[in-house]
């Protein structure tokens, strides 16, 4: 069970309001999630399975680190919501996929709460995986809407989504390794 009071202030697990530090951290992580995934996508040319898996691996890793850095309900939803808004505002992307991803994050948050909260790495990893699987299912649903006249192309989309899911699984492993490093370095304390 995480401490309820840290340095005289209510722990993040119990507080109902956001601090500036938490919001800034979420903003910074939303940026690097968006920018690094775009860079990897461009580096690989979009249809490259290696960079596609690497993109998802990096995304899952960063999300796990963020949820350890700001361990409270709505962090994942807010970070993904901000990422979707950046895509929408700067690139016009994800008008339909953005809301679906936010709903997927709510499922992930629900899974973390049901498992006992943000105090354990296992719960966070499961939550990120649930959110990713739900998001990919939503993505496939939207792909079907776009390509419903040509079901063969949906198989291509399914293959790429499966490669992305493998990347997410690898990302959960690297996320756990990263957390060990960051705890060792004293950057993240719980």
């Amino acid at each position: 069970m995480p401490p309820l009071v840290v340095d005289g202030e209510a722990s993040a697990y119990r507080r109902t309001h956001w601090t500036t530090r938490e919001l800034v951290t979420i903003g910074v992580f939303a940026t690097i999630i968006k920018a690094s995934t775009i860079m990897l996508a461009y580096a690989g040319g979009g249809m490259n399975p290696v960079t596609l898996a690497a993109k998802n691996c990096l995304y899952a890793t960063l999300m796990i680190v963020l949820l350890h850095k700001v361990p409270r309900t709505w962090t994942m939803t807010l970070a993904v919501g901000i990422t979707s808004l950046i895509s929408l505002l700067l690139m016009g992307q994800g008008i339909l996929h953005g809301p679906a991803t936010v709903v997927a994050c709510l499922l992930g948050e629900g899974a973390i709460s049901m498992l006992g909260g943000y105090g354990r790495t296992r719960n966070i990893v499961v939550g990120v995986m649930v959110a990713e699987i739900a998001s990919k299912a939503a993505g496939l649903g939207l792909s079907w809407l776009v390509m419903r006249e040509q079901p063969g192309m949906l198989i291509v989309a399914t293959v790429f989504v499966a490669i992305g899911a493998i990347g997410t699984f690898l990302g959960s492993i690297t996320g756990i390794r990263f957390m060990k490093e960051l705890r060792h370095a004293g950057i993240i304390i719980h």
């Binding site: 992580f29 690094s36 249809m47 890793t61 960063l62 950046i86 700067l90 063969g152």
Partner: protein, 249 residues
């Protein structure tokens, strides 16, 4: 700070003069239309209008480069699909409608993306967000995110230069030389930025009221009306226009 994430931004075009909110509404309408429409004629109408908007947003050369990239992606997808069709022929439908419609939808999306991305400076977007008086829990991370992108790209360039000096290559080299230093740097940057924000008095208690968000202009209303008319015309064309029977190819 850079004016935009895109270097070829043109702020003197007709589309650049539109309000960001109007452009976003046009994007949403276009995306919804491309999803719900399935007639090549209706999608062709939406595609024509979105092409005019895309060419009105940037120089033709920039648009053509983006088209070439998009078409390359489409042909790769087509190639993969054809390979799957060879293995499982029952999945493929080689007819006019099933080949054309998905690509028309993708082209509409590309046009709308180009229209928004190539005509909206980040600074204008940031000002609009500031004026919109969003809740603090949304405004702070969103502002940080938009402001932090160029800084992050510069950090990446510096770490990449440092990584070139190291002998390790491959995935391990990428991990140790790029990803790990980048994450450590980002975590420290987040702490520094948060401290700076707190010292500047930015808090979740709320910001002092600044400029009010200006209303939409006459040009914006004209464009939004045209969008609604085009949307209705495309739906009418789908329901009352000629039906395309699948032609074997």
């Amino acid at each position: 700070m850079r004016a935009s994430l895109f270097t070829n931004i043109n702020t003197e075009t007709f589309v650049a003069g539109l309000d960001v909110r109007a452009k976003l509404l046009i994007c949403i309408a276009g995306s919804v239309a491309s999803i719900i429409l399935s007639s090549p004629l209706s999608l062709g109408l939406i595609l024509g209008l979105s092409t005019i908007l895309a060419f009105g947003a940037a120089r033709p050369g920039t648009i053509m480069k983006a088209y070439c990239f998009g078409l390359l992606m489409m042909f790769i997808a087509m190639g993969c699909t054809a390979l799957i069709g060879l293995a499982v022929p029952s999945l493929m439908r080689w007819n006019f409608v099933s080949l054309t419609v998905p690509f028309l939808r993708m082209l509409v999306s590309i046009n709308l993306l180009l229209m928004l991305a190539l005509s909206t400076p980040v600074q204008e977007l940031f000002n609009r967000l500031r004026m919109a008086r969003l809740p603090t829990w949304l405004q702070i991370p969103l502002s940080v995110a938009i402001r932090f992108i160029p800084t992050f790209l510069e950090d990446c360039a510096q770490i990449r230069d440092a990584a070139r000096l190291r002998p390790s290559r491959g995935l391990t080299g990428l991990w140790r030389g790029m990803v790990v230093p980048l994450l450590f740097r980002v975590l420290y940057s987040a702490d520094d930025l948060a401290m700076a924000a707190e010292l500047k008095g930015i808090s979740t208690a709320g910001q002092a009221g600044g400029e009010a968000l200006p209303g939409l202009g006459q040009r914006d209303f004209v464009m939004l009306t045209l969008t609604v008319v085009a949307f209705c015309a495309a739906i009418a064309l789908q329901h009352f226009g000629p039906r395309f029977t699948p032609l074997p190819m």
